[in-house]
Symmetry: C2
């Protein structure tokens, strides 16, 4: 089992992000499937009013477990890894945040997990107070948030099922299927090709396996012609066999 050490916190430097409504702008595409879709144009403007664009370099920490929740983030580009670290170095990845996802929205006093950037990440930062105040003014934003939380809950439930009752091969099949669905929802990906932005170690820590088992399982799926392993991702060759692995 790989031993992990806590990574030091590095402040996020504001990035150059114009943040004007524009169909070609990455942020605006993100909006279509983010919580912002629940907002009317004038409310969106209000949200932008309190948004601070930030960016993180690869491996930067966004926040650590136990930190006071002072900000809420909306990811606009890149992938964030959410995890909990044991004193002895064991690590469990709780989930990944992709563009459109919110972070820290539970508005608890302290963060219950660590979050750091896998590769370059752009996000919008809201101060907790601003966001909370906006939420109080906009009941249907609150409702949208609740629905989003319900979706996250469902995802975590699936993870519990995977970790509790699935074999290594089934877990990897489920993981790939999940990644694919997420990419499809975001509109990118041609369907067969699945980008995998995270390392084998991250996948292992997400699926409750070791890196060796994950690697062997990928190799096995490739040997069985279920997928072809490519640079930074995978190409699905046999939809059905992957689907069978992922099904409950």
């Amino acid at each position: 089992m790989t031993i992990h050490r806590p990574i030091s916190l590095i402040g996020a430097a504001p990035s150059a992000c114009a943040h004007r409504p524009d169909a070609r702008c990455e942020n605006c595409k993100v909006r279509a499937f983010s919580i912002c879709a629940a907002l009317k144009p004038d409310e969106l403007a209000e949200l932008e009013e309190i948004a601070h664009p930030v960016s993180f370099a690869a491996k930067d920490s966004v926040f650590a477990e136990g930190d006071a929740v002072s900000n809420v983030y909306n990811v606009t580009a890149g992938t964030i890894r959410l995890y909990q670290l044991f004193r002895d170095g064991r690590r469990q990845v709780i989930g990944f945040s992709f563009p459109g996802d919110f972070l820290g929205v539970q508005l608890e006093a302290e963060h219950g997990f660590c979050a750091d950037a896998i590769g370059e990440v752009s996000a919008c930062r809201f101060s907790r107070a601003d966001f909370s105040a906006l939420l109080a003014r906009k009941p249907h934003l609150m409702k949208a948030l609740h629905e989003r939380t319900a979706r996250d809950m469902r995802l975590m439930q699936d993870q519990v099922v995977a970790l509790g009752r699935r074999s290594a091969e089934e877990r990897v099949g489920w993981f790939l299927t999940q990644l694919r669905q997420r990419a499809a929802r975001c509109g990118n990906g041609d369907g067969e090709r699945v980008d995998i932005p995270m390392s084998r170690q991250d996948i292992a820590d997400y699926l409750g396996l070791t890196i060796e088992t994950v690697s062997r399982t990928f190799s096995g799926l490739a040997r069985d012609k279920a997928v072809r392993i490519e640079q930074g991702g995978v190409r699905v060759l046999n939809e059905a066999s992957l689907g069978n692995l992922a099904a409950v």
Copy 2:
């Protein structure tokens, strides 16, 4: 691995539940730590207005995965088991609902898991429409619900960590600690004694283990004088060693 079969749905028969404010009434004790604590007296009356008391016999199904969410429940007595069933009979218990807990509050179209009674259960039932309407009228009820959901999320996160990165012994230690905290929050239990309303099989399916492993682990903890196994529960003999198992 034990094979489970779906249980048939049995309608809930209304029970005799006076449901009047009264300090000795079980329902009223429950209110203190339920979402109802967020309500002013007149609002509570409004909630009672739309509440239908129901009860379930042991092993009754409350709802099954895929059922339309037509009702929301607030447990007032007993324990409910939440789980997902695989086609091949594997079962993963997602969680347990104790007095004060809400069920179906995510207001999704369909239930994402099965729920059935362990032993006798009493609950308040709200129609989805009524509850939803009340929620729309009372923003701070919505907020309370959101906080409740955040707590449930945190619980599920802990389960992910347990299933992904803990040994059998650690999982059982975590489980007992969790049961104890829940009982303490409800005000019952003398601290040392922990009631365990669910079967070994339920615990196994919750912790992603087999019933044999759970049983052996309990025996091991008893052999090490960490707990004494009693009828329908356990007595904690060595707080520290249990705590160590449960710690991250």
